[in-house]
């Protein structure tokens, strides 16, 4: 895999996110990488997917220009509909959303995400909170989690469950896939299992970066690298590498 120099980890994550969207699906789109993944899926294998944004925007095309937030004017211009937050949340609660994307500061093997209080051992750090994360985690038919893969973020038990993962009595959905900076994992039925390692990442590296046991069947697969077409889309959509540069862009924290 000599291709590693030709794309960034984040570009690979965008590609992996896009592949989680099937054609004609209704997608609850987040910002950053999932937003790019949605646009990529639309441009390639899922041309009839529809995107919902929690502020009430419904789109079937990516925004015409680069956006920093889902409320930015280019995301409204040309939208199919601008409805209320409760209208899109109602569609989510009805079960009409096939897949939603969420991220967090901490994750555990059941797919619980913490975006509220982090750093259980040291001085606790207050994070911004749920936003729509709890709702997507509770109500989408399946969720795709996107995470930085670091030991302090991959914990046996998160210190606070902001967005619930798998738990007994869950009525619908739950985390299906976890895409990290190191690999892709299946989380279905509450079983955390390696699906693929990103190119040039070793299983030992993943195990060292994970605060709990990583299950894997035999020799792990390798995450399919981006195609030229996929990369071209991403670089058109994020020309400055704001979201997809290897060093997190100005929007990072």
């Amino acid at each position: 895999m000599s291709a590693i120099a030709t794309y960034t980890r984040r570009e690979l994550m965008v590609v992996a996110a896009g592949r989680e969207i099937h054609d004609r699906e209704v997608v609850f789109v987040g910002m950053r990488l999932p937003l790019l993944g949605f646009g990529l899926a639309k441009a390639t294998h899922a041309p009839e997917a529809v995107g919902l944004f929690e502020n009430g925007i419904i789109r079937d095309r990516p925004a015409e220009a680069f956006i920093y937030t889902m409320g930015d004017p280019p995301n409204i211009a040309g939208a199919l509909a601008c409805v209320g937050l409760l209208d899109v949340m109602s569609l989510l609660q009805q079960g009409r959303v096939d897949v939603g994307f969420i991220g967090g500061a901490e994750v555990d093997p059941l797919g619980n995400l913490n975006t509220t209080w982090a750093g259980g051992e040291g001085r606790p750090v207050r994070l911004p909170g749920s936003g729509g994360g709890q709702d997507i985690a509770s109500l989408a038919q399946r969720t795709v989690l996107i995470m930085e893969h670091e030991p302090r973020r991959f914990r046996e038990r998160v210190s606070y469950v902001t967005s619930p993962g798998h738990f007994p009595g869950r009525r619908r959905g739950g985390p299906a896939t976890l895409i990290t900076t190191l690999g892709v994992f299946d989380l279905r039925q509450g079983r955390f299992r390696l699906r693929s390692l990103h190119p040039e990442v070793s299983l030992a590296h993943v195990r060292a970066a994970t605060g709990f046991a990583v299950e894997s069947d035999g020799t792990p697969a390798v995450t399919e690298p981006p195609t030229q077409e996929e990369l071209a889309y991403i670089r058109h959509a994020d020309p400055q590498g704001f979201w997809t540069g290897d060093h997190r862009g100005k929007g990072g924290d």
């Binding site: 929690e54 925007i57 409805v83 937050l85 949340m89 609660q93 709890q134 509770s138 902001t162």
Partner: protein, 305 residues
């Protein structure tokens, strides 16, 4: 209806009191009434409760200025940047003083406002089952389905004393047109005891009446209407202003330290008399970059009877 036009200073003085619960930032990232937020800081309101879904940096600024004792929200930070440092300092270190947070998700804060808007004590939901947010929550309780289905959660009504919104245009009675993001605007206005509308333009009554479906905010719910062009900056207003990303980012960087926040506040709020002065301080090149001059008009809609 009566003429409800006021200056921003008078509107805040008349309708927002210490210890009030204030909803703002209801359209999420756009249309945040920053001019009103800064006026609240200048008028030194204290002991406020802030209500909103994701507040972008408006809540952070109010918390840092010592105006706030309680937050009812789903997310407090700076959308482009991440953490809200004043929020963090208040919760992690009690600076400038401790505050409490009633945790919500976007959906539950919306349902709380909707319950108040509908005039019922609660609304049922499926969201949050399995989350720590709803554990021992003061406003979210288990509730049986009277039709025999699985248990639900009941989200209690959230009733703001005042809701503040920024829209594109309104008439002098407060009937306001809003387009683009709606978010929880309607719920926040219907739920509130009082509403202040700031807008880009106060227009003739007939402009509003020409399109009653665009009137998201009926004047009968409005107590004051204030013409404040650019009153949402650095947030965007569809068709009027782009998002001023540099200001969000500048605040994010400078508010990382307490000293930096104070200097920012002096420069952009306390040392600024009005929104006009804010725009002047922003400078003409920035205004030229931010003001929308293109036209992309909505297709005609004929209301002839």
């Amino acid at each position: 209806m009566s003429d409800k036009r006021q200056s921003l200073g008078d509107a805040i003085a008349a309708h927002v009191h210490d210890a009030d619960a204030i909803a703002l930032g209801l359209a999420l990232e756009s249309g945040i009434p920053f001019a009103a937020v800064h006026e609240l800081i200048r008028q030194r309101r204290r002991d406020l409760t802030l209500i909103g879904p994701i507040s972008d940096m408006a809540f952070d600024q109010l918390i840092g200025a010592g105006c706030v004792t309680r937050v009812i929200a789903a997310w407090v930070g700076n959308v482009a940047g991440g953490s809200g440092y004043c929020f963090r300092r208040a919760l992690e270190q009690g600076i400038p003083h401790p505050i409490t947070v009633e945790e919500h998700s976007n959906f539950t804060v919306g349902l709380g406002l909707k319950a108040a808007a509908m005039g019922v004590p609660y609304l049922p939901t499926l969201t949050g089952i399995g989350s720590d947010i709803v554990r021992d929550h003061p406003r979210i309780r288990p509730q049986d389905d009277p039709f025999g289905g699985p248990p639900l959660l009941a989200v209690g009504a959230i009733r703001p004393d005042v809701t503040i919104v920024h829209t594109q245009r309104a008439d002098r009675h407060g009937n306001a047109h809003l387009w683009g993001n709606l978010g929880l605007t309607l719920e926040g206005v219907y739920a509130a005891r009082r509403t202040i509308v700031t807008c880009e333009e106060i227009v003739a009554d007939e402009v509003i009446r020409s399109d009653p479906n665009r009137t998201v905010i009926p004047g009968l719910l409005v107590d004051a209407v204030v013409e404040v062009p650019g009153g949402a900056l650095p947030a965007s207003v569809q068709g009027y202003w782009r998002r001023d990303f540099e200001t969000f980012l500048g605040y994010h960087g400078r508010s990382r330290t307490l000293e930096g926040y104070r200097a920012w506040l002096d420069e952009w709020v306390l040392g600024i008399a009005s929104r006009d002065a804010y725009l002047a301080h922003l400078g003409q090149p920035a205004l030229d970059r931010l003001r929308v001059r293109d036209q992309r008009l909505a297709a005609a809609a004929n209301f002839a009877p």
